[in-house]
């Protein structure tokens, strides 16, 4: 199985490098204390425990009447006593008490009868309401949430490494965690290099010029990963300019520097020599397509009190596809790690090829594709099931950024000659939310189970 071996070799290669550079990240301690309103999207850096039980009192599940369950059906006078937000009183014998959903059970009551199981009776001469319990509570605890039944006192409701989505924010609010420790936002500097580059806003290009796509793209990608981005602009192809930008970077206090361009074999590419002079280059070439000239280095920056702080430098290739693909495969996991993710790796799934795919005989390839969900071919009528289907985004030359448009996966293709036929299952790394994938025409809903 030569092909599989080739792919495993690439995976191993990237993983080793991954370990290497993730190890370097332990040098950095980015962490933060935030309030609840700015915690969304962060990764927890602490466990969160509930101080009290939830509910903190026996609470009604329905709108209805708090009762003594052994009283059974019959006619009762109604006490007003268990409104939401009030301290519960005591239920007098022979009475029931009105109670709303979530309201605290009065002392003496042990169950709730929902309003639909009762009938309103004419009030007493005093004006006091009367009610007939038509269908009695089945027993103690009926339609009552016991103290601590949702959350026990002392229970760990969230753990270090949990990502704070909306529901998790709700849990934090529930337990009163108004200030919390989260993984911090790494500061990422983004620098483009190349005399050919001009700002995206330039409307009239001079001969030989192109607009700088990488900086805006990588800034957006880093920001989406939770980073604080410092725009370092464009450095021309003169050694002095790049060196000067390095000084600026170091002084700007960023944790991570992303450069694009200046890492291929040309005589005007100084990034790698500069990195070798100033720090340690961990790798400077990767057998992958796109992205071969990817470079990773760490620098020790003099800090206050004679100590040093680390600066991670990723020298990304200048071609826009290479730069965003290497960002996604190598920089993104690093940023996630800095932000506190326990497992920062891209998630792998499997998808069926919609069309044949030509392989590259020289390098394993990360082929950009759009996945969608489709009913499996040949499935029985009415059966439930589907699979991911991968459509290539077209021409994969690393200058053609359109190959990243709407891409939500990188297909992991082995280095080999020949063509994978349509229908082949391939492994794929998720690079965008499948919650935005194209929608298939009609997808079966859950059907009747075989047994019940």
């Amino acid at each position: 199985r030569v092909w599989e071996a080739a792919v495993r070799a690439l995976a191993a290669q990237l993983e080793t490098q991954g370990e290497q550079h993730l190890a370097a990240l332990h040098l950095l301690s980015v962490a933060d204390t935030v309030g609840l309103s700015s915690a969304a999207g962060c990764i927890l850096a602490q466990d969160i425990l509930a101080q009290e039980p939830l509910p903190p009192f026996p609470a009604s599940i329905k709108d209805g009447y708090a009762v003594r369950s052994h009283d059974g059906p019959g006619e009762y006078s109604v006490e007003v006593g268990a409104l939401a937000g009030t301290a519960p009183g005591r239920l007098s014998p022979g009475y029931v008490a009105y109670i709303g959903t979530g309201g605290p059970l009065p002392e003496g009551a042990d169950a709730v009868v929902q309003i639909e199981h009762t009938e309103q009776l004419p009030p007493e001469p005093s004006g006091r309401q009367r009610v007939r319990i038509v269908k009695a509570a089945k027993g103690p605890g009926d339609d009552v949430r016991a103290v601590g039944s949702d959350i026990k006192a002392g229970e760990v409701v969230l753990q270090r490494g949990d990502r704070l989505g909306a529901a998790e924010i709700g849990l934090l609010a529930t337990v009163g965690a108004a200030k919390l420790q989260v993984g911090g936002r790494p500061r990422v500097g983004v620098l483009s290099t190349g005399n050919e580059l001009v700002e995206p806003g330039v409307q009239q290009l001079a001969p030989g010029q192109i607009r700088d796509a990488n900086r805006a793209m990588l800034a957006a990608a880093a920001q989406a990963a939770g980073a604080l981005v410092v725009d370092l602009g464009i450095a021309g192809d003169e050694a002095g300019q790049v060196e000067a930008k390095f000084e600026e970077t170091i002084n700007s206090g960023v944790d991570v520097l992303l450069t694009t361009g200046g890492v291929s074999m040309g005589d005007k590419d100084f990034i790698k020599p500069l990195l070798e002079r100033r720090g340690t280059v961990h790798f400077g070439k990767v057998r992958m397509k796109p992205g071969k000239p990817l470079t990773f280095a760490t620098l020790e920056i003099p800090a206050a009190g004679g100590s040093t702080r680390p600066l991670l430098v990723f020298g990304l290739p200048g071609n826009p596809v290479s730069s965003i693909v290497t960002f996604t495969l190598v920089v993104l996991p690093a940023l996630r790690k800095l932000a506190g993710w326990l497992d920062p790796s891209l998630r792998r799934v499997h998808a069926r090829l919609a069309a044949p795919l030509k392989l590259d005989p020289e390098r394993p390839e990360y082929h950009r594709a759009t996945l969608h969900w489709e009913r499996r071919l040949g499935m029985e009528e009415g059966a439930v099931g589907g699979e991911l289907v991968a459509e290539s985004t077209g021409g994969q030359i690393s200058s053609r950024l359109l190959s990243m448009r709407s891409a939500n996966a990188l297909l992991e293709l082995p280095q080999a000659s020949g063509t994978l036929p349509a229908g082949t299952m391939v492994s794929a790394l998720l690079i965008a939310d499948l919650g935005m994938m194209p929608v298939a025409e009609s997808v079966a809903l859950t059907a009747q189970p075989a047994a019940s």
Copy 2:
């Protein structure tokens, strides 16, 4: 197939309501012009065309020498003439010219020979470099990107409805689209109701009190959907307080109002009567679990010049799980529609149940679960393929917000008695990015194809 019919009925019910409320959204025109640096995450409200071709000049794919392809192998003098960012000169006959990756081909040259296929020779007495072409270009166009080969002039590079991720930002930068029309950010007011509620920051609860989880949770969820959130606080259970909050809401200029609580059958629940008095209630109860008391209404708010503007009101249930689930199923698609999504619906996939699931005989259920990717059981050694496996998040009572912790899907379960056995395939709506799903131990990579 009674079960399937039941589920289809619910889907149809929600879809109809969806259409109804999505139709109401057409009344609102939220749109915006933004610069490139604030466009990430937005939905395009216009098509984007390239003004010029990319590359705008014939560009080298490699670092090497620009040549006349018919000159073939041999020894040549080197001109300096095709550095990145410079206007290309003319290649003199009998010469080659140094060229860097992305650099413009000089006039007269028609191919590139990469540096690895050449040998440096001793320079001429004048100091001019000389080089031996060892392996000649195969023909015109070799290692050259033709004008417009990545993007043609006039080509549509992005379309109305496209979501602007990092790659799309890069495409906008490439074509110089520095200002663009995007779907706007809907303004969403969030209001909690209930005398039992206190702020999340309160550390000591009085008897009968609980902390308000819904407001922070829904604010985070609406913000994640791109909305601008207005915190309207907590209204107590007095008609006057809720009415006053309504006035405040109307004056705050929000497009959408989310309330929680006050929609169940209790005598202190005024949201529905108030909405009926002030506008049109489109639905006030849905046969679903959780979320039965979900209410949707539209109000016409007097605006400047005697006209009116619409206000959409979603009355969400007070139980935190019900509120976030109904938000996700009904409000989120509405917010997406307002922000310009062409297909705002949640994406449906299929997953295998990891454990048996008891069904609800009274209502179709949206069961919270965490999906992960797993190798399919019984698969041949070395074969490539996997499937989504669904793990329930545990007790599903609508007060237990822990059932939403780490949930990335809502399983669509039919209304029925009995139990779905482990291994049943169920349909599921994606509610969080699968790029953060739990990672399975070991998942096969792309293997050798059957034919090549």
